[in-house]
Symmetry: C2
């Protein structure tokens, strides 16, 4: 199968770099084709701005959604964006790998999402009517593909537990896993998280890479996170509220797991 | 009082630009001193990388936390970062203003946080012992200052409600409000959110700016979000779990509001 790793760490000699190399080796040895988009090494432009839309008339007011739509539809995107879209379409699974900085992905990776997930490609697609509200949350361009986060965090696992002060990792990652990955159709696997990343030694590294290998072995068979699909009866349309009686006893973000 | 607006939209003629101008006018008319860090206009470097640490030996492995600590401690930061830190220290209140892109802040603003919130400045400060776990979550460099998000979202308010498909706005913003703002000591006010930002007209704009003016009038008197402070008895140390019996009936991120 085809696997795209989007890698967002500035130092190849880091723990993240070592985990990336390990993933490439493990996946390749298993017979997969692997591509790495190494955002720092590629000098990825992190900022979404007017330069992303070279065909827009100069001096015109920049309306991002419209400009993105026109650029995607007419093939007027910048070559770096078009190449990442081709890689995403080629991939059967996508791994976003990054250090958790300030409880989210690094800016360079967020900018990859903002620029590559164009209007008409990853959002703003499908029928909008009384029955459907676009192809999103379980449908969309990436339907049938799998996605997984592989990340490192400086803090302890306890600090990210259900009652931990940072908030549960699943809730902190919801904007990424549900809002960025599930939204355009990916089946999202549970994340692979390395805690206390700055306290690494040989023994821990061996244990972690063994666990990671096991996760990668099951990349195409593991059950994805059971996020509720938008257009399959769980939500009122167009208010997009979860229907009465569903999610009993749950609060907040966990309502959206079936 | 001194107010810093950190503005992250590429188009000054946008709704965000109009709201920014309105805030500057309203706050100035009320006698405040206002500075705007206009990240796009300043050409803000969004990506945290080795170039941020010019005093590090060339070719050395980049360890970001250590490099950030040394650069901050020795005055070897880049001038753009040092200037933003000065502005933050000058301010009595900080407003982060941005369009919500993919359920979080734009990359350029995330990169502002990553570069400006240095180790020894906004994190990695204070005593770490059996009694305290650093000055964070309610303590830290920004203690006594206020912060507020002002943001626009394309979706409907219902989609961000308690049972809305996107997830409750408060939960989506938790990594920013709790993890980026409360962590280094800010008192965080409820956000000001404009929904359906792409369906604007004169009448809605008048109503929105009237509401915004009211919020700004109360910038220094409004009750902040009652996030629980780390070192004041609510959490076990060092596991940082919320103590048994607190937060009864609550789940997930809302456990951390008193």
């Amino acid at each position: 199968m085809n696997i795209l790793i989007v890698f967002a760490h500035p130092e190849p000699r880091s723990l993240n770099g070592a985990l990336r190399d390990r993933m490439v080796a493990t996946l390749t040895a298993a017979g997969h084709d692997v591509l790495v988009s190494d955002l720092y090494a590629q000098g990825w432009k992190a900022t979404l701005d007017g330069a992303d839309f070279p065909a827009e008339p100069e001096g015109a007011r920049l309306q991002l959604t419209d400009a993105s739509h026109r650029a995607f539809a007419s093939g007027a995107q910048t070559p770096d964006v078009a190449e990442e879209q081709r890689r995403l379409l080629w991939a059967h699974a996508v791994i976003l790998q990054f250090p958790l900085w300030w409880f989210s992905m690094p800016a360079i990776l967020k900018g990859w999402v903002e620029r590559v997930f164009a209007h008409g490609f990853a959002y703003g697609v499908g029928e909008h009517s009384d029955r459907r509200w676009g192809d999103r949350y379980g449908e969309g361009v990436f339907a049938g593909k799998r996605a997984m986060l592989v990340l490192t965090a400086g803090g302890w696992v306890e600090h990210y537990a259900e009652r931990g002060i940072n908030g549960p990792m699943d809730d902190l990652l919801f904007p990424i896993q549900h809002g960025i990955l599930f939204y355009p159709g990916f089946s999202v696997l549970e994340p692979f998280v390395v805690y206390r990343a700055e306290r690494m030694n040989e023994e821990r590294f061996r244990a972690i890479t063994t666990d990671l290998d096991r996760r990668l072995e099951r990349l195409f068979v593991e059950e994805p996170i059971p996020y509720r699909r938008q257009n399959h009866g769980d939500y009122e349309i167009p208010s997009m509220r979860l229907k009465e009686g569903l999610g009993a006893g749950k609060q907040g973000l966990r309502l959206h797991r079936a």
